[in-house]
């Protein structure tokens, strides 16, 4: 029993970093452009298919394929930003609905190109680590570490570099930041594109672990939004913890309660947090 719980804890944490990387995009986009980009789930799906196509289709090395997948997703993000999101800055409802329209377009296109039959990538890194009777597939450990590294690096960049400080200044007080010379438009587009890149990375890594289909983004964006709100929108490091907390709760919860209800935990969390601690668990620790 102890091992089962420990195993689920680990699994939950790994899944949680996936929620976390998308949640990070949600948080950043919201902080800088004032909209919630629900299409990040669709960008994650795009990242999945790109990684699959570049490795299994074109025979690239997986690491190169991941890099290319991130580039393609970011480029798609740039196009979406310039043609759509540019017009919905700070308009929450319109931004929400445009991003939802974009999901339909991207999912429909993916269904046309790749059909609804799930795809499975060849094993990238077979084998497992085992310690104390626990078994963790090597690939899962790699995915976990890469995502963790990227989130922490983003956090470091935001707190320690000039760009990060500009972004923070803007999120706190847009007008003052603009007067101080922050190039608003570039900053906003940059954040939208970076967020789609993060989603693409999450997707590209996801593809090495699970089978992929065109609708997988919907689940992940919901979980990511839950994680972001759980942490308190605007908290970078919180999105990681929010994601992991959600992943672990789902993992451990499914041991004791019917698995059918695992999607409900996040919802209950979400309602409780918004009612009783609306600034989120990590409020004030920006």
């Amino acid at each position: 029993m102890g091992q089962l719980i420990l195993g689920q804890l680990l699994n939950g944490a790994i899944l949680g970093t996936l929620y976390g990387i998308i949640a990070l995009g949600v948080t950043l986009t919201f902080g800088i452009t004032g909209i919630v980009n629900f299409a990040l789930g669709a960008f994650m799906m795009l990242g999945c298919y790109m990684a699959w196509y570049f490795t299994d289709g074109l025979g690239m090395h997986y690491a190169v394929a991941v890099l290319c997948a991130v580039l393609v997703t970011s480029f798609a993000g740039l196009i979406a930003d310039q043609t759509l999101f540019r017009f919905t800055r700070n308009n929450l409802v319109n931004g929400l609905l445009v991003s939802i329209g974009l999901i339909s377009v991207m999912e429909g296109a993916a269904l046309l190109i790749w059909t609804s039959t799930p795809k499975n990538m060849e094993y990238v890194l077979p084998g497992v680590f085992s310690f104390f009777g626990l078994v963790v597939p090597k690939m899962k450990a790699v995915v976990f570490l890469v995502l963790l590294g990227v989130i922490l690096a983003t956090y470091a960049a935001l707190t320690r570099t000039w760009i990060g400080r500009a972004a923070y200044a803007y999120a706190q007080n847009p007008e003052a930041a603009e007067l101080m010379g922050v190039r608003t438009k570039i900053l906003q587009s940059g954040v939208v594109v970076y967020s789609t890149g993060l989603a693409g990375l999450g997707g590209a890594l996801y593809a090495s672990l699970y089978s992929i289909d065109p609708t997988l983004g919907a689940v992940y964006i919901l979980k990511a939004v839950e994680a972001a709100i759980l942490a308190g929108i605007g908290s970078v490091i919180g999105s990681l913890f929010g994601g992991i907390l959600l992943g672990i709760t789902e993992g451990v919860g499914s041991i004791y309660l019917p698995i059918a209800f695992r999607d409900a935990y996040g919802l209950i969390f979400l309602i409780a947090i918004l009612l009783f601690k609306p600034a989120g668990l990590f409020a004030g620790r920006k």
Binding site: N94, G101, I103, G108, V225, I268, L270, I271, P278
Partner: protein, 312 residues
């Protein structure tokens, strides 16, 4: 008025069962869109609970008939009362805690997802993913014929038309009353409304509850016309389809969302597309409407026909 008369006489011209069926669906979804606009367009609250009200009522109407042995109409009333009860609970939680905009949307979405998960997994009662086939037909009283089964497209055409007409009447009365003025105050500046003595909580709850109850009635009728219920009635996609109807039709007039419902219901049957292309077209319409035509079809036509305000 003229439009209503035209719709009432339309079946004399159109004999195609297929076309009438599409119109029945448009009327029922029109009820849903028009009632949603009461919450979204007039009171300014982006609710994601509307599809849940629609779906819960569809299940509740059926369960009331099969478990309690009531007639369809009693079942429909009970279902609407159940939805009223749920709306008051969900609305009280959201509005007491002053959830606005995105947070209101997310929490109502969470509640409807929970309702969907319960329905999806309560197999013994709801038959889970498979849904339920409804074979019974509601009975109505017709002058000269007594009580008859509500069967055949023509009868459904008039029942759903009356449903839509009543919905329009109720919403029109509300938004043009003192209560509608309170809705507008909440949408435009709720802080100011509060200092002017408007109980923001009460009128938000009123709009939410009335809107959801109309959706409940539409849900009961829709499921029995369709002949089946499934958990997809409560899905996020269904909620978004309602939002799309309202945006496409327009928010600025009581009847405008019906235009959106009509277009989005008819379109797939007029232009034959695969499911994938249909999704793409649907998403593109949503984006196009928001970015290029934010006033919707109604608003754009109104802007064209209205003389410019300062023209001599």
């Amino acid at each position: 008025m003229l439009a209503a008369l035209a719709l009432a006489l339309l079946p004399l011209l159109i004999k195609s069962d297929f076309a009438l069926t599409i119109l029945v669906f448009s009327f029922l979804l029109g009820m849903l869109a028009v009632s949603f606009n009461l919450i979204f367009g007039y009171t300014g609250q982006l609710s994601m609970f509307h599809a849940a009200a629609f779906g819960i009522s569809a299940y509740a109407t059926h369960l009331s008939m099969s478990l309690l042995g009531t007639s369809f109409w009693i079942g429909l009333v009970l279902a609407a009362l159940l939805v009223l009860f749920l709306s008051v609970i969900v609305g009280t939680i959201c509005f007491r805690f002053r959830l606005k905009e995105f947070y209101f949307a997310v929490v109502t979405l969470a509640f409807s997802e929970m309702a969907r998960l319960i329905i999806l997994n309560w197999n013994s009662v709801t038959n889970g993913t498979l849904g339920i086939i409804l074979q019974e037909k509601p009975r109505i009283w017709l002058p000269g014929q007594g009580i008859v089964k509500l069967d055949g497209t023509l009868m459904w055409y008039y029942v759903s038309l009356i449903g839509l007409a009543l919905t329009l009447l109720v919403c029109w009365r509300l938004v043009n009353s003192w209560m509608g003025r309170s809705f507008a105050a909440i949408r435009l500046n709720d802080e100011l409304g509060d200092t002017l003595g408007i109980n923001v909580f009460r009128y938000k709850l009123a709009a939410f509850s009335v809107g959801n109850m109309i959706a409940a009635i539409a849900g009961g009728l829709y499921s029995f016309f369709l002949g089946s219920i499934e958990p997809g009635f409560l899905s996020i996609d269904q909620s978004l389809a309602i939002v799309a109807m309202v945006l496409l039709g327009g928010r600025g007039a009581v009847a405008a969302p019906f235009i959106g419902a009509l277009v989005l219901t008819t379109l797939p049957h007029v232009i034959h597309l695969g499911a994938e292309l249909r999704t793409i077209v649907y998403g593109s319409i949503l984006i196009f409407t928001i970015l290029v035509m934010p006033q919707g079809i109604y608003g754009s036509i109104a802007a064209l026909t209205r003389r410019p305000p300062h023209a001599i």
